[in-house]
Amino acid sequence: MSLNVSPLPHIHDNISTRKVMLMVIIALMPACIAGVIIFGPMALLNLAVCTVSCVFFEYILRRIMKKPQTISDLSAVVTGLLLGMNLPPAINPLFGVIGSFVAIGITKQLFGGIGQNFANPAIVGRIVLMLSFTGHMSTWIAPFYYKNTADAVTTATPLVTKDADYLSLFLGTTGGCIGETCALALIIGGLFLMITRIITPHAPFAFIGTVALLTFLAGDDPLYAILSGGLMLGAFFMATDYATTPLTGKGKLIFGIGCGILTFAIRKFGSYPEGVSFSILLMNLLVPYIDRLCELRPVGAKKPEKEGAKV
């Protein structure tokens, strides 16, 4: 009888990349559903187009490059959903296709696919669209417009108007991107990921906490600042992306604080009303340095001898 011989361990935790991604997809569902309820069929169409095109680009590029197929790990679905959630509800779906190509083709596959990308694909997709098509990317429609009229009624985001009430910010019945307005749904999703230990609380809490603190110190309303814009979406779902954030708890804290400072600075002093995406992208670039800075000291490790140590 031939026996299976392998190195230890001989059992494995009941987890796989696919399962991790599935959990993230489940966690994104409340915010996606909220977005579709608030913004109607166009929101659903945009989410669907982004998801399908991300998976399509991943599939076709892996084929062209003759690399093992990776669409079954569901990471492209996550990227597609996140990109869709970062689009204005009534935008022409073709922009979503362009964004998906930037996200999957350029940001992810050009650098070697899952785990190898240095920046968050959905964020790069969004930023490229934002900078290239600023007008389309900042046309917001009023919540529930589809119930009253076939034509979209434009509005402004609460980050600009500064006059939304807390309840509508919390429930998401304000202008904004498809998946970013409903704080309630995003918090439910984020807590789900923390309870199931898919993500750790370090980065989201550091991110949101820093924005709240700095806004308070600047004399503005911290609650308004954390409930409006893309902060909740960015903090729970994009500042926790595995490949593009630090490995250790300490590193994640620094990452979150850095994102918070940059977001606050862009919102307060920048020419864009929102700075969540830019701040996460900028911090993505610093991850290798943060990781190096926050390496764990092994238990029982002796400090390197003076002569060999280089700082």
């Binding site: 009888m1 026996l3 299976n4 011989v5 392998s6 190195p7 230890l8 361990p9 001989h10 059992i11 494995h12 935790d13 987890i15 796989s16 990349t17 399962k19 991790v20 990776t70 790990d73 990471s75 696919g113 899952i114 785990g115 190898q116 595995y242 490949a243 490995l247 250790t248 390496e295 764990l296 000291r297 092994p298 238990v299 029982g300 490790a301 002796k302 390197p304």
Partner: protein, 432 residues
């Protein structure tokens, strides 16, 4: 310094914990490789055709780091063969055809112990090595230099953190007096003032019983350990039970501790009373392929694993392990015999096929590592062949507990890479 030790929570599968130990029927043939524990292999002292008796010494070595091998049965030496061990190295093996009489060796009598030196000599003669799995020769461990490394604590390892295995637990339940007597004897003989008995919290009966038995003795303390793997790993146990950190390149003795497995201690006191050397072991036979009679057996060293499995109704298996599912060794053939350091033979079927996928940098390995290494960084350093980085990241501190591989969603063989990396560093050091 407060360090939070990582590790993982495993399903325990300790379904054999309430099954009392029974003697396994005498096999027709025993195979005794001359390398049974850590250290130099023995040279056979018998030749083909010789008659042997129970407890007769059949192999020994003049190297200090080795212990003799004794015959577990009476019968005839049918062969002396070259034997390739599971780890690839070679030694001689003595094959014994048993005669079913189990005639005891006339030389067996309780050892005469007058001082520290005669005690250590007796420990060596018993053929005893660390029975927790590592097989470190006990007389070397106990032969610490009290001047250079004074020992203040004897730490008894009763953690048994591997799933399935319950053989140490049964020692607590079936021979609690031997455990306590063994502890007192070693403390007295080696002048160790304090003892701590570490038992995982998932064995409340053993903890309660040991607490009751040591209630009158202020020098013996029973410590309830969290039921996380790898609680029984020496360094982890020392840290949880005493708060001391055994640093790089140090032995536990440098921190005033020696760690002994509970079964080793109970065996030693029985040897001192009777003079019967280490010729049998209590094994847990279990696993998904074991359909009936799973349980704890007193098995003669040298019994082929296949015979145990057949007896326990495991006809169809894909994987057989010496030891637990985390740190055990997968056998290339079920004909391999039980050796002294085994505490379980586990058989599994329908091993799920595992496919390694790219690392997603989730950091689970980093959080799981009890030594706080960074397996993800070590893996990429090894793949690049970057020995300087491997040194810097302290791969040598890896205790090969397997937690990193266990938690990896991408199914990456991180623990294996660490072992390979240690080999790479050793070879690089040789070349210098």
């Amino acid at each position: 310094m407060s360090v939070k030790i990582g590790g993982v929570r495993l399903p325990h599968h300790k379904s054999t914990e309430n099954i009392a130990t029974v003697d396994f029927p005498l096999p027709k043939k025993l195979v005794l490789p001359m390398a049974q524990c850590m250290g130099a292999p023995c040279t056979p002292l018998v030749k083909k055709g010789d008659e042997v008796t129970v407890g007769m010494k059949i192999g020994d070595s003049d190297k200090p780091m080795s212990v003799p091998v004794h015959s577990p049965a009476s019968g005839k030496v049918s062969d002396i063969t070259d034997w390739r061990l599971s780890n690839g190295s070679c030694c001689k093996a003595v094959v014994i055809e048993t005669d079913g009489l189990q005639t005891p060796c006339p030389d067996i009598k309780p050892p005469v112990i007058t001082d520290r030196k005669s005690f250590l000599a007796a420990v060596r003669e018993s053929g005893c090595c660390g029975l927790g799995g590592a097989g470190f020769p006990t007389h070397i461990k106990l032969g610490f230099d009290p001047q250079k490394t004074p020992i203040d604590t004897l730490l008894v390892n009763g953690a048994e953190c591997e799933p399935y295995i319950t053989s140490d637990y049964r020692e607590f339940i079936e021979a609690p007096k031997d455990v306590i007597d063994g502890i007192s004897y070693i403390m007295k003989e080696l002048n160790i003032p304090k003892c701590k008995i570490g038992i995982e919290a998932n064995k409340p009966k053993a903890i309660a019983d040991m607490k009751k038995r040591t209630a009158g003795n202020a020098n013996i303390e029973v410590v309830s350990l969290p039921s996380t793997y790898p609680q029984g790993a020496e360094k982890v146990l020392i840290y949880t039970a005493t708060g001391r950190v055994v640093a790089e390149g140090e032995l536990p003795a440098h921190r005033g501790v020696i760690v002994m497995n509970v079964s080793t201690i109970a065996f030693l006191i029985r040897y001192i009373r009777t003079g019967v050397p280490l010729i049998s072991k209590r094994l847990t036979i279990d696993g998904t392929a074991v359909t009936k009679n799973s349980g704890n057996y007193r098995v003669l060293v040298g019994t082929p694993a296949a015979e145990l499995l057949e007896y326990c109704g495991a006809a169809d298996y894909d994987k057989v392990l010496y030891g637990g599912p985390m740190m055990g060794m997968a056998l290339d053939s079920a004909d391999r015999p039980v050796i002294k350091v085994n505490n379980a033979i586990l058989a599994f079927k329908d091993i799920p096929e595992t496919k390694t996928t790219p690392c997603i940098r989730c950091g689970r390995c980093v959080r799981a590592c009890p030594v706080k290494l960074m397996p993800v960084s070590l893996e990429s350093a090894y793949d690049r062949g970057d020995t300087a980085e491997l040194e810097r990241l302290k791969v040598k501190l890896c205790i090969n507990c397997g937690c990193c591989s266990y938690v990896c969603p991408a199914n990456r063989r991180l623990a294996e890479k660490n072992q390979l990396a240690k080999g790479l560093l050793m070879n690089a050091a040789k070349r210098k």
